[in-house]
Symmetry: C2
Subunit: 201 residues, 2 copies
């Protein structure tokens, strides 16, 4: 029994940490959580920030309806439970990205404060940046790029945030950006300046 068999080879665990990956990438793994009404400009702002980060040689990734609702969360509907599970999974995935050292950006209405606060608890202090992309409801309705507000007003879409379902404004967002006041470049620069000031990029 003292013979060392090939089957008993010591298999050690790799020891690459989040910190190692951040050093390699020259940035910090963070979650930037954009929240706000439909048509507030969350996804557009996130992609504008992504573009600027890329110019700066930084790696980010935008999680939004396009890549989440048709994939990971395609088995979820719009019931309250499913909406909660939708945001829960997005929070968990964004944590994995941040753990990789990537700048994860999520662009979802995420109307419930408790859901957003839950996502915040998953990330180390200072690494969760909640950005309230704020517009007056009237402005969002006027933009209405997909005609959703019109349908909601007509009762064709039920439980539509801002019309027939609540939107709970953030109480402690790291940034509040009013996209009816700032254009996309100005909004983007607010985010980039914040990341720079916090030594995250």
């Amino acid at each position: 029994m003292t013979e060392k068999k090939a089957t008993n080879i010591t298999w050690h665990e790799g020891a690459i940490t989040k910190k190692d990956r951040e050093r390699l990438l020259g940035q910090k793994g963070v979650v930037i959580w954009y929240t706000g009404l439909s048509a507030s400009g969350k996804s557009t702002l996130a992609h504008a920030v992504e573009e600027k980060l890329f110019e700066l040689g930084r790696v980010s990734y935008v999680l939004d309806g396009d890549n989440i609702r048709h994939g990971l969360n395609k088995n979820l509907g719009f019931s309250p439970e499913d909406r909660e599970e939708n945001i829960r999974r997005i929070g968990e995935v964004s944590v994995l990205f941040a753990d990789t050292g990537v700048i994860a950006m999520t662009a979802f209405i995420s109307p419930y404060r408790s859901d957003r606060d839950q996502a915040r608890t998953l990330v180390p202090e200072g690494r969760f940046i909640e950005i309230y992309v704020k517009v007056p409801l009237s402005v969002a309705e006027e933009r209405d790029p997909k005609g959703l507000y019109k349908k909601a007003r007509a009762g064709e879409i039920k439980e539509f945030t801002g019309i027939s379902a609540p939107y709970e404004e953030p109480l402690k967002a790291e940034l509040v950006i009013d996209t009816s006041e700032l254009n996309v470049e100005e909004s983007r620069d607010v985010v980039i300046d914040f990341l720079t000031a916090r030594n995250l990029i």
Copy 2:
């Protein structure tokens, strides 16, 4: 109505693609899917590859029980449906990582061929690398680092892969690595050589 209001500002979409991110990172976004019996060495091999990739300046991330079962998939059990959903979500998340340009590595038993093949369909041709981490069952049982095989033999764990639940061997794995024949460094180098030969790193 011809007046351009601030609320009608043209919000353009950022246009950073997977290809851009791959160029930035100097690597290709791929999914490396390790499959095999419990105690075959999947996670250890994945972490050894991660370590080597890091030395080479490449960014990878290992999805395994440690970061998935306690987070994204903590609301899943071990029923057949939940096992399928477990692997489905892992597949979808690994695709997001690959889309970021990161080398995503998954280390799960993933005993069903159909589940693994489903994950493969999510990734572009040539970007899904299935690695069968193969050991004789007797070797896995002898290793049994967590005493799971012992419990399974005693009937304390039900539906344990290889004992009381099936393991469907891959039919078309990109690599088959027998960890009862190769040690961890040799196994790791097989993977690294493959990635190099395919111009993925």
